[in-house]
Amino acid sequence: MEHIISVLVENKFGVLSRVANLFSGRGYNIEALSVAPTLDPSMSMMTIVTQGDDRIIEQIVKQLNKVIDVIKVVDLNETEFVQRETALIKIHTRQEDRAEALRIADIFRGKVVDSTPTTYTIEITGDVRKVEACINLLQPLGIKELVRTGRVAIAREPVRQAAAQPKRILKEEK
């Protein structure tokens, strides 16, 4: 099963290599990875997409925790979360396809970020299924180049409905 793991790490040289080494050395696979500094520039957040059964994911989380430069590990699959990915898609367009390309981009709320007489570069952001659906539709037109950021993900904040409702009832009673 696919898991998205958030890993808060020290923002130091060599940390990415420590994490990557852990995966390659133990035969785990990284399907996607994105890294950038957090609000506190001494730390970075890694978002790792990986595959594995429960036993493997348990080991991955434990092994990540064992890395001294790793500060916190969260398996996002344990909660509700939002994930996004951005792709930049350069499509080769013949004259007759240019309108179709723009229509497809529009359906997926994509933006044209670069244009030449024979190409469009479209930026698309969304969850992985949306990005892939867009790529699939654009493919027949001729994709010249494609880059994807890998996913970023964040846990949804729980809504405290139970606490909010009783108050309202009290007011109505008065």
């Binding site: 020290e10 290599s17 001294i68």
Partner: protein
């Protein structure tokens, strides 16, 4: 106070209480060696090869329980120490290895004797540092020792560029360090320990499975108390020998591939396995899907990744073995349950029956070739009252030593378990001897293993480290030969070593003592003579070249399917 990096280095070692380091100089570490040369608090033992320095640091650490320290140069100096780093990582040995590095402005330029030291060592150290600024050196060395010795111990590498050693900087040595991503758990979860107590009370066929963690945690007293309190028999891994007295009636000796019959049968048929500082290595479990099939498993370990890595665990307890056992013992005492001990009588009887039926034994006819087991037995008989430290290399001799040399105290057994590094034994013995100059240090080696680091005989002689090396000479890579007999129809591909070199002449060439025994009747004599010598000794003992090491569970086999010969 402004000091050069080299002076800061030496000052840090003193503050850490380091008395001895093992090393070999080269261009970029000359400044550090120069400063070391001008002081007397830290002794430098010059080795003949950096692998020797690394294994000596390991031997020192295993014998003392304190971190071993090695200092080597950049490039080849560092790459030569990789094997000891991996070895220490596998066996959780606290060593701190300092490597020289080319000056910071040359890093990445493919400079002379440059290697990516932190890159190469990253997968084989617990942590490593590249020091970029001399002002950070004190803090980094403090952190290096802290990381190496706390939690699950392991090797740490500190890479010091030449200019960092030469430049002056502010010397600061913190009293304590805190690393936000590193907080080992020492106290076990109380509720889990309570679960363990209940499981122990209920168990009718319990067994303790003790690993090397019990040694580095110094848990031998707590372990003895636990076993006696509950009357639970104790299986030990290769790494744990000495953690529990081998001559205690509850000891079943070593378990695993070449473990005793009783130890493997007991773990297979038990209904409760209490794993203590062990990691369910494949040489212990055999076929992992059929390891202790009927048993509930309690696993006490400081490293959460060890738990549920290979086998299912019912009651995991993350914590320091000593701390957890203390708590466990206290709880067990608070809930006395004489009844459970009574219930276990049939189990103990069964174990004693296994012990009696298939003891570790051998037959030595007086006029036949010398049996290697006989040699180990004789060495044991002559030295058991002297509380020796015993190191081994890797192979048949190692297994025979583990089977027949009974150890009753921890930190007396130096062997390479996880990595199985041939060439480990002699330098490890020297490391232990450097720590305990007055103790008897024995090295039981094979002719193949010994040749992998025999250059260190020079280190032994020059530094007056009178280790006694016993080579069980079968002219083979014996364990390889045994596997070729069992699994490759006796084709001895590249396992026959012939009679080269002559170890007696070799000893003499190093200005050490060389002795030889070729007949059974000569064994006692050479052992006695070796023990009398105040110099390093090599004893070359011609043993039966076709003796196989039994009992044996073939790799991937099941623990109750032991192959026995006797």
């Amino acid at each position: 106070m402004k000091l050069t990096g080299a002076e800061i280095f030496v000052e840090c070692l003193k503050r850490e209480g380091v008395k001895t380091i093992f090393g070999l100089p080269g261009g970029v570490v000359l400044k550090i060696f120069d400063i070391l040369h001008q002081q007397k608090d830290v002794e430098v033992i010059l080795t003949r090869h950096e692998a020797g320095a690394g294994h000596m640091a390991e031997g020192y650490a295993k014998a003392t329980g304190k971190p071993g320290v090695a200092l080597v140069t950049s490039g080849p100096g560092m790459t030569n120490v990789v094997t000891p780093l991996v070895d220490a990582y596998m066996d959780s040995v606290p060593i701190v290895v300092f490597t020289g590095q080319v000056p910071t402005h040359l890093i990445g330029n493919d400079a002379f004797q440059e290697a990516d030291n932190v890159g190469i060592s990253r997968p084989c150290t617990k942590y490593n540092f590249l020091v970029k600024d001399v002002n950070d050196l004190g803090q980094i060395i403090k952190e290096a020792f802290y990381i190496a010795t706390t939690g699950r111990p392991g090797p740490v590498l500190v890479d010091i560029p030449k200019d960092v050693a030469m430049n002056k900087g502010e010397f600061r040595y913190p009293d304590r360090v805190s690393i936000r991503g590193y907080n080992p758990t020492y106290e076990g979860n109380k509720w889990q320990i309570k679960q363990a107590v209940e499981a122990i009370h209920k168990a009718q066929k319990p067994i303790a499975y003790v690993g090397g963690g019990a040694i580095f945690s110094n848990a031998h007293e707590e372990l003895l108390e636990f076993a006696e309190l509950t009357q639970i028999p104790v299986d030990m891994t290769l790494m744990a020998l000495g953690a529990f007295p081998g001559s205690h009636p509850l000891s079943l000796g070593m378990m695993g591939m070449h473990g005793s019959y009783a130890s493997n049968m007991a773990v297979h048929f038990s209904d409760l396995v209490i794993a203590i500082g062990a990691r369910f290595d494949d040489r212990v479990t055999g076929k992992v899907s059929e390891f202790c099939p009927e048993a509930k498993v309690i696993h006490i370990d400081i490293d959460p990744t060890s738990i549920r890595k290979n086998v299912h665990v019912d009651i995991p307890i993350v914590g320091d073995v000593k701390t957890v056992l203390r708590e466990l013992n206290a709880m067990l005492k608070a809930t006395p349950n004489g009844h459970s001990i009574e219930q276990r009588k049939p189990w103990l009887n069964q174990i004693n029956e296994w012990k009696a039926k298939h003891p570790l034994t051998y037959v030595q006819p007086p006029d036949a070739l010398i049996k290697p087991q006989y040699v180990i037995d004789r060495i044991y008989q002559f030295t058991k009252d002297k509380d020796p430290i015993v190191s081994t290399d890797v192979g048949q001799h190692q297994m025979w030593a583990a089977q027949h040399f009974v150890l009753n105290k921890p930190h007396r057994w130096l062997t390479s378990g996880g990595l199985g590094t041939m060439g480990f034994g002699m330098p490890a013995a020297l490391g232990a001897q450097a720590a305990f100059r007055d103790k008897l240090v024995l090295c039981i080696a094979g002719d193949g293993s010994f040749q992998m680091n025999m250059q260190e005989m020079a280190t032994a002689v020059v530094n007056k480290l009178p280790v006694k090396v016993f080579i069980l000479n079968n002219h083979f890579h014996g364990m390889v030969r045994q596997w070729q007999d069992l699994f490759y129809e006796g084709r001895y591909a590249s396992s026959y070593l012939d009679t080269v070199p002559d170890f007696v002449k070799l000893a003499e060439a190093f200005n050490a003592v060389g002795l030889r025994a070729t007949k059974v009747g000569e064994v006692d004599g050479v052992i006695k003579e070796a023990l009398k010598a105040d110099k390093p000794v090599i004893v070359d003992i011609e043993v039966d070249p076709y003796e196989n090491c039994y009992p044996m569970i073939p790799a991937g086999g099941c623990n109750h399917e032991m192959e026995r010969r006797i």
